[in-house]
């Protein structure tokens, strides 16, 4: 093998350091039939072009992954998104999942919580506890994490517009458990831009929303150094119908907007950038997806280094969570979905994901049953323990096809990002409807191809079968709404309402000015002010955002 000084450099500086710090899981790795598995397979000739574009894992530009040993050192985090009904019920499901071998929690909140309404608000009718757990106050959060020590688990929370409030509740639960905020680990999604673009759980207009986000960055850098303060999400952009290129371009454009905002708020890029995390979709075109992940990593490294002048390697690393593509699940022949999910998970693992959620086969029908959640988790475990993929880092590197696609995705995504820059950035591009229209057009093209049988979806427009048995569906108890409302009523009677009112008034004052909003939110949360009360104060100060026109 021809050597290149860069290879020696990587071996000495990056790889050795990692092996010293965190040895691999086994002394040696072999294939199923006993052949040695190379840690990082390399081209026979390593030239400058290879080093610059592909390079070595754990080193700039991170095309091959953010860690030099990847899954030989540690498997990805198997993190199943879950939550429904009440805090009590969800707490049970989390403890079940932990028993079954998940390695991180991922909290799904119901829609009223995600949009900052209490369960007894008229607008919450029918929605309480439906797609996630209903959290109205710290009291619910205490129950949600009952007997789950917050210094032992890492918790991801899918919460955006009211992320500051839920983070404050998590910190307050930690306090009650005696866990200092410095030791908390996890992620809040906190990515409001993609809510305007694709997911819809926004509350406030873009500018005050960005302020809340940078306030969180600033506060967390002091108080929760191990918490990922944002999970910049392409997942929902893809679910809304985008292409892989659009997913990468819009996600990284969003990311640039957050970095710009944080820098404008006076933060040092190398202080907050290491806490930025990403979240992508794992869709069905396996090799395109692998190329997508690799391209995104390379692009981000370059952007952080060249555009934002980030110096720390951690600032340049794109670390991401993957969820398999919900939009590809079919309501017909639902067992087929297990195969789709397996394929999509392979894409995520071959693409070097840091954590993974696998969808359950019945999610096109309703929330998943416990059985189907288990199968989804087993899918990840089979890949981790039986497939042999973990033996070698970025095993598809050097494939003419995959490297070519990686380059193409990078090139096209950069072109799309520069169109956004021309429009003045992501927020003006959202306000002008540019991004949404791109996605809508792509979704229309995709769906039209299915309607005309140009694109085959097995079991839907080809190979259909008559299905006689309807699979069991999971149902949320209809009484959740009433129960939450009753709990709220007694909470409002029991707590010290004079203090609550004073805390809410202090929050309003802070919102009018420029002070960081996390401390007054935390004060209000500790006094059991409800999520809806806190968000209503902010609604009054910031105004609300309304949906975009569809064309």
């Amino acid at each position: 093998m021809a050597t290149h000084p860069a290879l020696q450099d990587w071996q000495d500086k990056v790889l050795k350091k990692m092996l010293d710090k965190a040895p691999e899981m086994r002394p040696e790795f072999t294939t199923l039939s006993g052949l040695p598995a190379e840690r990082v397979a390399l081209p026979t000739v390593i030239d400058d072009a290879y080093v610059a574009k592909v390079g070595f894992p754990g080193q700039y530009p991170y095309t091959r992954g953010v860690q030099p040993t990847m899954y030989r050192g540690r498997l990805w985090t198997m993190r199943q998104y879950a939550g429904f009904s009440t805090a009590e019920e969800s707490n049970k499901r989390y403890r079940y999942l932990l028993d079954q071998g998940t390695t991180g929690l991922s909290v799904a909140f119901d829609l009223p919580t995600q949009i900052g309404y209490d369960s007894d608000d008229a607008i919450a009718r029918g929605e309480v506890g439906k797609v996630g757990v209903a959290i109205d106050s710290l009291a619910d959060m205490e129950v949600l994490f009952n007997n789950i020590p917050l210094d032992k688990v890492s918790t991801s929370m899918t919460i955006n517009a009211p992320a500051a409030v839920l983070l404050a509740m998590y910190v307050a639960v930690g306090e009650k458990q005696g866990v200092p905020s410095q030791k908390l680990e996890g992620t809040i999604q906190n990515d409001i831009l993609k809510e305007y673009i694709a997911r819809g759980t926004y509350i406030f207009p873009p500018r005050p929303s960005m302020r809340l986000i940078t306030d969180i960055f600033a506060w967390c850098s002091q108080n929760t150094p191990s918490f990922n303060t944002i999970s910049i999400s392409g997942y929902h952009i893809r679910e809304a119908g985008s292409t892989a290129v659009q997913e990468v371009a819009f996600t990284l454009a969003d990311a640039c907007a957050y970095v710009d905002a944080a820098i404008a708020a006076g933060l040092d890029v190398d202080v907050f950038a290491p806490r930025l995390a990403f979240f992508f979709n794992g869709s069905s075109d396996l090799l395109e997806e692998v190329a997508k992940f690799r391209a995104a990593r390379r692009m981000w490294a370059k952007i952080m280094k060249e555009r934002f002048k980030a110096k720390k390697p951690q600032s340049q690393m794109l670390r991401f969570h993957t969820q398999t593509a919900g939009y590809t699940l079919t309501a017909q022949q639902i067992d087929n979905n297990i195969v789709r999910v397996a394929m999509q998970s392979l894409a995520a693992v071959l693409g070097g994901t840091q954590s993974l959620h696998t969808n359950s086969k019945d999610e096109a029908l309703a929330l998943p049953t416990e059985d189907s959640v288990r199968t989804a988790l087993r899918t990840q475990q089979i890949i981790a323990y039986e497939s042999g993929i973990i033996n070698s880092v970025d095993p598809l590197a050097g494939s003419y096809y995959v490297e070519g696609l990686t380059d193409t995705i990078e090139r096209e995504a950069l072109a799309l990002m520069s169109r956004i820059d021309e429009l003045g950035g992501v927020i003006p591009a959202i306000e002008a409807g540019f991004i949404q229209r791109q996605i809508e057009d792509a979704a229309y093209t995709y769906q039209s191809a299915i309607e005309t049988n140009d694109r085959i979806i097995v079991g839907v427009n080809k190979f259909q079968a008559k299905e006689s048995i309807t699979p069991p569906v999971f149902r949320v108890d209809a009484s959740v709404g009433a129960n939450q409302a009753a709990k709220l009523k007694s909470l409002r009677e029991k707590r010290d309402n004079v203090k609550v009112d004073a805390a809410l008034a202090a929050l309003a004052t802070a919102a009018k000015g420029t002070a960081n909003l996390m401390p007054p939110i935390l004060d209000a949360v500790r006094l059991y002010a409800t999520l809806g009360e806190i968000c209503n104060v902010l609604r009054k100060e910031f105004g609300t955002y309304s949906d975009l026109k569809s064309r």
Binding site: R199, G200, Q332, A364, E440, E451, S546
Partner: protein
């Protein structure tokens, strides 16, 4: 009656923001010659009903993916009745388990489209609803 485009209102009751399906159906209906009033996401049943009446539509379509259909679809029917539009036919779609469909039909939802329904079937069915409604005027 002269031939004229049918008017349909597509509403998203409830709080979920997944409007991929609603937008696709809106666009497909437009391309089939319908005038489609789209309400945007997160509308209350009362807002949808008021809009449907003011817009004098021939039919109302609802899209919901959060699982709250058993509460919210009938709530739209009730709101329409109250707003003086009880005669306007309502159809719906989304993540709806088969076993919920009979109940929704009993509540007055005229057709229910589940994931994977070909759009031409949706268009045909909406056309029939609109034709019957227009004949009454």
């Amino acid at each position: 009656m002269t031939t004229r485009p049918f008017r349909v209102l597509i509403g998203k009751p409830g709080l979920d923001g997944h409007d991929r399906g609603a937008k696709f159906v809106s666009r497909a209906l437009r391309d089939a010659g319908f005038e489609v009033v789209y309400t945007g996401i997160r509308r209350t049943p009362e807002e949808i009903a008021a809009a449907a009446v003011q817009e004098d539509v021939d039919a109302v379509g609802l899209s919901l993916l959060s699982g709250a259909h058993n509460e919210l679809f009938p709530a739209v029917i009730a709101a329409l009745e109250k707003a003086g539009g009880g005669d306007i036919p309502v159809f719906g779609g989304g993540v709806i388990p088969a076993e919920d469909i009979p109940g929704l039909k009993r509540a007055g939802i005229r057709s229910v489209f589940t994931p994977g329904t070909p759009v031409k079937d949706i268009i045909a069915s909406v056309t029939a609803l609109c034709q019957a409604q227009a004949a009454k005027v």
